[in-house]
Structures are given as structure tokens and as C-alpha cells.
Amino acid sequence: MDKGKAVDRGSNGFAPAKKPTLVIKGFKNKPKLPDDFEQTSWQKLEKAVRAIQSSQRVQDSLEELYRTVENLCLHKYSETTYTRLSQEMERQIKSVKAKLESFPPSASLAFLAEVRDAWTEHCRQMLLIRSLFLYLDRTYALQTNGIHPIWELSVDMFRTFVLTPGGATLVGSMKGLLLQITSERNGNVVSRDLLRSIVQALLDLDLYDLIFEPELLAETDRFYTEEGDRLTSEVTQAPDGGVALSHLLKRVEQRVQEESNRCTPNVGYLTPSSRRKLTQLAEAQFVKRNARALLDAGFDKLMDAKATDDLTRLYTVFNRIQCQDLLRDKFTNYTKTKGSAIVTDTTRDATLVDDLLEFKLRIDTTVSGPFRNDESFVHAAKESFERFINIRPNKPAELVAKYIDNLMRQGKGLTDQEQEGLLDRCLSLFRFIQGKDVFEAFYKRDLAKRLLLNRSSSDDAEKSMLMKLRQECGSQFTSKLEAMFKDIELSKDLATAFKATTTAQTLDVDLSVSVLAQGVWPSYPKMEVAVPEALARCTKVFADFYVGKHKGRKLDWQPALAHCTLKASFPKATKELNVSFFQTLVLLLFNENKSLSFREIQQATRLEAKELTRVMQSLALGKVRVLNKSPKSKDVSDDHLFEVNETFQHELFRVKINAIQQKETPEEQKATNTRVFEDRKHVVDAVIVRIMKSRKTLSHTELTREVFGQLKFPLDAKELKKVIEGLIDREFLRRDDKDASMFVYVA
């Protein structure tokens, strides 16, 4: 064809040249397989398989052998090939079995090694064989139901013939394995590689979970039961259970560590799936079985010894074995016992609060440290404190109040922060106390003294304490305390205003008065005294000034609370004396008299004998002796004489004479307590009437329950009965006519 034609072809209508055709014809004679095709092919393969099984070189190339298998399969000889191959495998495995069984049945290491070798050799052979027969495996074995793929078949055979469940070989090797594990637990070094291979074999053969692990756990259980019993008996029999318990806890921790290590892949030889079971067994047998006995023997000792590490271990273990309840009960018990020992020991009253604070700190750090702030433990601690602090009614409340008073007065050289922290801790004790009214009464009394005698170390500390109390108990609780502060503030302003008046400037005494509102401050017993003319005039001037400012009021003077600064000229020295008002009255008498008898002093001052005795003791027998007494005895009676101590000397210019009045007298303490109880009676009255007014009729039990629900302080059922009787007498209530246990509200 030339180019021109090709160009024109489309337009001139010439037909294209005819395409050449190719015809394929079948063979005249159909190609036939040689008759002995299957025979020879298999012989070739058989030779190869046997060579592999006897660890010899395979003569034919692997490629060729693979093709042979492929050809056999293509020509539909799959089934026969598979059967022949499995016969070959069975023959080989039976020979392995015979070889292993020729060993004397034992659990020795050599036997274990033999088993391992047999298995690894089997695996090596089967991998190669499977590669050769891969085509058969893929096209036939995998796709036919009812027969295993080659690898599985071999595993199955190995299990059936060699490591038969129940057979001597398997039993022997498991026994060997367990012996090795026990030996390792006893501290010996074992060949972990060997053990790992055996375990791997068991895993591959699906024997681990069903056959081996139960045996392993049984053996472990036996081992740890024995060790656990031994250690427990050491704990329970030791004179000091704490040390032995600590030892046991360390052992458990170590055992758990070991078991866990044993089950770590590549390090240990058991499977990770066994880890949890093994560690649990160790913990159960060591601790859980004997949990109570162990705690009884050693827990208190560990707490006493503040063994933080051991307590941490204890908590961890008990948490894991789900026995926190036991531990918590023991902890509660410990706290209660120790706490009530502190609280009820009357000889320790002096250090009670310090002891409690220390104990609280110890318990708190134990809960937050070893017990990881476990909520139930926090709660248990709280409950225990609440319980034991209130075992002894009222006293702890009183002592905490006094402790705080002490802190507030001197500051003890603490920094603000330290003081603040200590107050917070006191408050945390206060929180547990039920008789909050007792605390309030004592706190109020002490606060009054601090405010009136100007004893507070810091105003800020007072204010912050007040804030804390308000947060803790509500504003109703502190309203009176706040009113006290307000009175003091007002009095300061009042004093400034008074000093500015012209009449005040005519007085030769610098007078300032704390004017208190009634009902807010603790009530003080009224004391009559004879006040010298000059002083009486001062009070009159102030009273006039005050009433001029506040119409309709009058002032009741409280001489027992007043105090003075005196300028005293002794023959040897001139001093400033800081004294109470009563002391002042007595000392002023000595301006005109050189010597006075007790009786004369009493006539002049008209002080109560008991009070005057105390005043005289403070002046003549205390640390600072301004007066001399004759005879020089401690007691004071009517005809004893007092005279000025002419030789008085002191290293300071300002001398404070401690008045016994400022120390708490037993009467004062008793008075505070009785006042609290009086107040309580009224509160109970009011609560009962309030309940009955709304409910009209109530049974005794219901009423009791309601009352106890509303009261904020502990009350004896007997006392409650008395109060109810009182209310019936006063006709607030009456008993129901038909049912004597029912009360009816009388409107």
C-alpha cells in the first residue's frame, strides 16, 4: 500500500484489505498423563519429607518439589496426597513418642530438655513441610470440611501421640515444670529459657489453659498456704506483732512482685494471663485467709510505731483482696480506743488538747498518706473522733476553749501563721464536740477577760477566730461574741469623748470605762464595796456624762472587773503597779495607815471575806510582795496584821501584781457549767413546746426522737423525762386520758 491510497481510502469507497485469520485446532491425540505420574511424583515428595524428618539435605530443589505438589493437586490427586502426607507425619510423630517414652519417666531437667527439643524439632520440620505442601494446604486442606490444615494436623497429632493429656510424657513434663517453679520460689536459679520453651509448647498445643494452669494454681495455692500459715503464726505468736506483720507485708509485696515478674513476657516464662490469678493467690493465702488475726496481732503496733511504709503496704493489699472493711473497722477501733484513753484520763487534763491535736495530726497523716485519702477512711476517722471526744461530756469543750484562750493571750512567740494554723487545728477538734454551748460559755468568759483586761495578744487573731467560729456554727452562735467586740469599740470612743469634756479634765484620775450591754457578756456576781469619796465622785461624773448621751439608761458598776495603774513611792523605789481594783482599794488604805489588821481592812473596804482573803494573799504572799504579813502564814484570819513592805524592790519599773481573781477559781468553773446546764434546760423546754405545738399529740418515743433530732447538745433520756414532767406540772402538756404514753399539747 502506498501513501496516496491510504489517504483517499475514506472518500473513494474502496473496501479495506482482508485481515489474516488464525485458526486453532485441537490435538489430534489428547495428551495423557504418564500412568505412573502420581506414583513418581509422590516418591519424589516422600523422599524429601523423609529427608526433612531425618534432618538431612533435601536433594531436589524446593522449587521443584513445590511444583510437584501443585501438579498433583491440579490433576486431582489432592486427597491421596493429603492422606499419604498425614501417614508420613504420623509415622514420624510416633517415632518421637517412642523415643521420649524410652526415657525413664521422670521430672528431671534432662527430660524437660528432651521434650523441648522434640517439640522444636517438630516445629522446624513441619514449617518446612508445610511450605512445600503449601498449594495442597491452600487449595484442598483449608477448603475441605472435616480435615485439618497441615500445621493444625501436626499439632493435633503431637498432642494425640506425644503429649497426651493424662499420658506419662505430659504428666512428667508438667511435674518437672512445677518443680522448677517451686524451686525458683524457694530462691534457686532456674533455666528460664527452658521453662519458657516448654510453656510455649503447652500454649501452642492448647494445653496451657485447660490442663497446665489448674495444676499450676493448685501448686501455687499449696505453696503459699504453707508459707502464709508459717508467717501468720509468727505474727500471732510474736511478742511484738508489729515487726512480724511488717515482715509478712514485705514478703507479700515481694511475692507479688516475683509472680508478676514470672508472668512478664521475655523476662519470665508464664503467660500474662496467669499473672492476676497468681498474685491474687499469693495475697489471698498470705493475708486474706488470716486477715483478722493479722490485724489483731499487728495493726495497733504499726499505728503506734507510725510505720508509714508498712501501713501503705497493708492498705494496698487489703484494698486488692477487697478487705478494706476489715482494715477500716480495725482503724476505727484503734482511733476510738486510743482517743478515749486520752480523753478519759483525768490526770492528763493539762495536756489533753495538745495530746488530742497531736493524735489528730497523726491520724490525719495516716489517712492522707498510707490510706490515700480513701473516703471511707476519712469518714471513719471523723466518726471515731466524734465518738470518743464526746465520751466525756463537756470537759473537752471546756479545755479546748481554755487552750484557745491561752493561745490568744500570750501568742507563745508563734508567728501569725503558726498561730492561725494552730487555731485551725483547734477548730477541727471543736467541730467534733457536741456540747458546743459549753465551749461557747467558756470561750465567752475567757474572751470577756481578755477584752476587759486588755490581754489579747492580737486583735487580728481575735477577729479571725471569730470569723472561723461564725463559719463553723453560724452567725447566731457568734452574735453575742460580736456584740462584745462592739461594746469594747464603743467604749473606746466613749472614753475619748469623755476625756474631751471639761469636767473630766478636773478629775485627777485618768478614768476610762468599758460599758457593757446586759445579756451579752457573761454575768458576774455582784460585789458591794466601799469606794473612797474621791473615786465615787469620778464614777458619778462619768455616769452623768453617759446618761446625758443615752437617755433612759443607768450604769451598774462592776468593781470586780476593773483594774488600775498605781504610782507607788516606796522608800527605796518608785514603781508603777498594775493591780486589780480591789487591790487598789486595799493599797490606798495604807496611804494613811502604817499597819492594819484584816478586820480593819474589811471594815474599811466592806469586801466579802473570801474575796478579801484572796486579795490580801495576792498582795502579801504572791510573787510580788508589796505588803508584809504577820504572822507569815499562808492562811489569813481576822487578827492578822499587814504593813507596807518598806524594802520593796523590783527590777522592772512597771510591776504587775497577779491577782488571784484573774486565775480561774473552781467556783467560777462550776458556775460556768451550771449556767450552761440552766440554759440547756430552757432550750429543751422550748424545743418540746415547739414540737408539741405543731404536732398536738405525740407518743413518748416519737417525742423523744424529735427532741434528740433538734438538740445540738447531748441529753440524758432521764433528764428529758424530768423536763417533760416539769412541763406537765406547768400545764403545757398533759398525758392522754386513755393512753398514758401519749402526750397532748395544752393550748
Binding site: Q518, A568, L577
Partner: protein, 87 residues
């Protein structure tokens, strides 16, 4: 020896100046030293009021009374118009 008072820190409690300390308010029947039923603490928070007619009440009690129509601005004790005594 010579003693002279330089500073005197006295303490006094103030009370309502009434002829009888146990007297009660004619309206609420609570003692004057206590407070009216609506108050919690006696003293500055719940003052008294004196009428020219010489009758005394808790101020809160009297104010409540005077707010009522029926009181007609009279002292509840003697029915004379209530006028507070000048302070």
C-alpha cells in the same frame, strides 16, 4: 508609802433606768431588760420608748401598735394620744 491612782479602767453594765427592774412591757409582757418578741438580743437593737404619759414600752412593740388603725395613735395603757417624751 504613797499610792496614787494614775489610770483607772472601770467596767460598768448599762441597764434601762426603770423604777422596777422586773417590770414588763405592757404590750408584749416581756421584761424590759429582755427584748420584744421580734428581736433576738436586748440592748441597743431593741430600745425602749418613754411616753409623756410616763408609760414605757419596747419601741418595736409600740410602733407595731401605732401602725394599727384601731390604735388611733393612743397609748395602749391610758388611751391618751401617745407622745414620746423628748429625749
Amino acid at each position: 508609802m504613797k499610792m496614787k491612782i494614775k489610770r483607772w479602767q472601770a467596767v460598768a453594765v448599762w441597764k434601762w433606768d426603770l423604777p422596777d427592774e422586773d417590770d414588763v412591757c405592757g404590750i408584749c409582757r416581756n421584761v424590759f431588760d429582755g427584748c420584744c418578741p421580734d428581736c433576738k438580743s436586748p440592748g441597743d437593737d431593741c430600745p425602749l420608748i418613754w411616753g409623756q404619759c410616763s408609760h414605757v414600752f419596747h419601741m418595736h412593740c409600740l410602733l407595731k401598735w401605732l401602725e394599727q388603725e384601731s390604735s388611733r395613735g393612743q397609748c395602749p395603757m391610758d388611751r391618751r394620744p401617745f407622745v414620746a417624751a423628748s429625749a
